[in-house]
Symmetry: C2
Subunit: 311 residues, 2 copies
Amino acid sequence: MSNSAKAIGIDFGGTTIKSAVVQDGAVLERGEVIHTTAQTTAEGIIGELLRVIAAMRAAHTEIEAIGIGLPGFVDSVTGIVHELTNVQGWREVALVALLREKTGLRAAIENDANAMAYGEFLHGAAKGARNAICVTLGTGVGGGLILDGRLYRGSRLAAGEIGHMSIDSHGPRGVYGTPGDLETYVGNRQIAERAARLYKASRQQRTLEKCTPAELAALANGGDHIAIALWDAIGTDIGAALADGVWLLNPDTIVIGGGIAAAGDIIIDPIRRTICERTSTLFHEQLKVVPATLGNDAGIIGAAALALETK
Amino acid sequence: MSNSAKAIGIDFGGTTIKSAVVQDGAVLERGEVIHTTAQTTAEGIIGELLRVIAAMRAAHTEIEAIGIGLPGFVDSVTGIVHELTNVQGWREVALVALLREKTGLRAAIENDANAMAYGEFLHGAAKGARNAICVTLGTGVGGGLILDGRLYRGSRLAAGEIGHMSIDSHGPRGVYGTPGDLETYVGNRQIAERAARLYKASRQQRTLEKCTPAELAALANGGDHIAIALWDAIGTDIGAALADGVWLLNPDTIVIGGGIAAAGDIIIDPIRRTICERTSTLFHEQLKVVPATLGNDAGIIGAAALALETK
């Protein structure tokens, strides 16, 4: 799989687009960050992307390919972006064909959670894994699967939707009607609401804005009992969905990434404990549950690697 | 994958061992059925197996390999049976080495649910599938996965344990502590108990012995309201676990096999409906949910095919 040529990796987020020149899983140089707003058109963004790509190529003439991880429904085979989550104006955009035409380079697009999983698999926390479930925790809950040493995409290229697995058949319904949909418990907004509720119940005032994952992690690591209990409950919820994934896929590695993963052991420990409580020894005795190690670069690194694998 | 040589396929069950000479997915001739009891030793069974194998080889001299599907924890790579479910005396038996030595043929062992899934994939209901979840409903609930066109085994060769996925975080704990473990709702015994309870609640007397899947299926197909409601509830439970599998794996095919699958649409319909209710259009619009077509021969046919693939 490894290829030591240089490629540009791009992480297309809801508000910013980050990029870098990548070689052997290492970021050589970062591209200018592109900021998007609700008003930005697809054409406008593509123009900006081409400008940033050109600037990186001016500094690294031997770049061979461009890979982009995008949030939403993208077809990595045909190279078409069908629709993006939380980004307007991207319907049926033949992005790979366009990039190839405008740059003359090989290009690849991939779902962002898959790109992150692939980055962690080649160069991060899942390096050496044969079967890994990679979870990305943020506004939503994303996932990517490495099975038998390869990125697994599923029949409609949509596999890995851990965020919509059910953890409670009597629980609140998610956006697709699933009762107890994991995302309704552990998306960033839901975490903030749970936190604000807990603080209020113990007569402490804490606004939603002061309940970001980063602040709650700092509070917990500082010994705040409410924050500690909250992370334990969040980890239990995530672990419940992952335990089902462990029974089904019998992986050797689970990688926890994204914003709230920065909470460290406070979130990893209850996830690991819940998986152990709910599965047999064979399924968890050699299972590693580890935080992602590439941070925000996972998607960039994974997308660059996938681009080099295209023909 | 296909190989038109002849092989012996063996389905090692809790009370009977069935075998056949198989070619291209077709059963050419059946071996004598071996009946096992709690008193039968591993040595005794192996002796019987070798006798039945010899009889089949006498009739088909060009047999190239022997494959056995077994219920329990078997290592298809090393060829060692670690432990069998509901069969005593099989601890760390090097069955493949023994068969090779005694017969001079290539041999393979596999988990029985995996062998069935592989049989259905090559020659049955999952033929042509790229990604399939195969469920086997019986005393327990087993499963096998075909992913990217290959049998997926997992890191400890134990993948596909759909029967231990949780469908209710407040539900009864299964044998491994999982709350709402699917098997505690839809194993054959649990189905009989649910049925007896429902009939009792509506003042009809029906003993557990008269609540086998076959009798309950006949009752439902004959218009019995209680049996119809029961199958609907059972299908909903199975569908709840499978919906999680669909979000995670985005398969194109789900195969429902084993005893209770004989109930037909009465069980398939609520499974399909539940998956559709709990997943987005992309995940279910092209998903086939179909009954197994090879019946009791799936394991024999799959084991024979796996044996021919060994070197």
